[in-house]
Symmetry: C2
Subunit: 250 residues, 2 copies
DNA sequence: TCGAACATTTCTGTATACAGAAATTGATAA
DNA sequence: TTATCAATTTCTGTATACAGAAATGTTCGA
């Protein structure tokens, strides 16, 4: 939707995949809705073959579901599904943190993580926090988690975490936090940042069990947060995947 | 390879996927080897389109890797990759066991699991254990783990576990345990069955933490087991994915 | 007015054709 | 003999054509 002119640097398949994913996450396609290949062809502007490839990939990714009679539909998730996904992700990240701690990381390896930590600090110290700062936080937070995951040095685990993140971190491209929810969100950010600091410390000190435990706690915070957001119908959480939750969408 | 005549009950894509996966797991395609679409078309007997679909699915599944310049190759795994995958799987199954315990399962829900437990008991009580009994065990064990996973009642978790099982449980269709390795394997089976009994008991008694812990321990047994198998170059382990390990294949 | 059966239309799954890129082979020169 | 360059061949990515199935709309009968 952003650019219409053919971008030759990216394959048609990838383009279709990105376009479809964004369409799903932004709510352009509702949960349960059947996806018409021909319609997608028109919308995206590529042929059926790459669209089809993208559909298969998105199904494997977990955003689509195959219809027995043929074709795909947007997968619908319950509130519990999302909460479970968050806990699942926390468990995997806990394992990653433990791996990082137990296998030993050099000070040099920890550097990017600490740097990221510092950048986040700069944001969350603002009082009151701005909407822009919050958007930056979302990006930085994602980077922090990615860096942490990388530290495990375990390709299978990294892969799995990437997959598990699809839902909890699913976020349409142009998400912005509502102004009214900022103060409460700020409080949560401060706690989350505490967790971040602790896990880095635990890894540095080779305390695997502690590193694992804090990441699980971190996930529990996110879950509590989401539960609150759902109850209040606000977007104060860090996880704007709400469009996918059927029980809310309906 | 089994049937050549067109099986109309299954789609061409699924047929291609199964054929390719079996070809990879049985070692017909070596790790690192590039997969020629046209060659696959000839071997499997379907057109390029379904082959292509199958390749994409197998890549998402983690058995193939995309080549930057185009096409796919069989993914190569290190010994550590496989060990990590086992621990990863154990961690996820631990979470599943905890979910099952905490969320409460009725006696009726536990019935299939207990029945499976009993069947395995019948096998492992044999002394000496037969090669056939061992093959049966492999199947029953997979069923036990699947049933346990189901008890979590968490679709996202079940999905992740299925993905995570791709490697640890990867097994070509006609695998049989070597006669010489049976006694040692039998010992391991007995311990594994102890774990199975404990986890069922823990779930029944709503002891989430205990259920989780024992599944992790269970994975650690499998990992130790595989490590031993790799050192001795025997197939005494329960995880015949060795064909995928490059450090062994080389 | 409602329901069922038939015809029409649309859509998916599969096969194939085509273009551009990559790899391989062969030839020539140092 | 070896290295380099060019020509050829092969392969992938994409588009499109076709057949069968599913869904939809319409018409006829009760």
């Amino acid at each position: 939707m952003a650019e219409r002119e053919t971008d030759r640097s990216v394959s048609q398949t990838v383009r279709a995949q990105l376009a479809l994913r964004d369409l799903i996450l932004s709510g352009g396609l509702r949960p349960g809705e059947r996806i018409s290949e021909l319609q997608a062809v028109e919308t995206i502007g590529v042929s059926r073959t790459p669209v089809r490839m993208a559909l298969v990939r998105l199904e494997e990714e977990g955003l689509l579901e195959a219809i027995p009679s043929g074709g795909f539909m947007v997968k619908a998730f319950s509130e519990r599904d999302i909460l479970d996904s968050i806990e699942l992700r926390g468990t995997l990240e806990g394992l990653a943190a433990r791996f990082a701690a137990e296998r030993g990381v050099s000070a040099r390896d920890l550097e990017p993580l600490k740097e990221c930590l510092g950048e986040i600090d700069g944001l969350v110290r603002q009082d009151p926090i701005s909407v822009e700062a919050f958007s930056s936080y979302v990006a930085l937070n994602a980077r922090f988690h990615a860096l942490l995951t990388e530290l495990s040095r375990s390709p299978p685990l990294i892969r799995q975490i990437d997959r598990a993140s699809a839902l909890p971190f699913a976020s349409p491209s142009g998400f912005v936090m509502a102004q009214s929810a900022l103060p409460e969100a700020h409080q949560i950010l401060l706690i989350a940042q505490d967790h971040h600091r602790i896990v880095v410390d635990a890894i540095e000190n080779r305390e695997g069990a502690r590193a694992e435990a804090i990441m699980r706690e971190h996930a529990r915070l996110a879950a509590r947060n989401l539960r609150l957001a759902l109850r209040n119908r606000t977007h104060l959480d860090l996880l704007p995947a709400l469009a996918l939750i059927r029980s809310v969408a309906d």
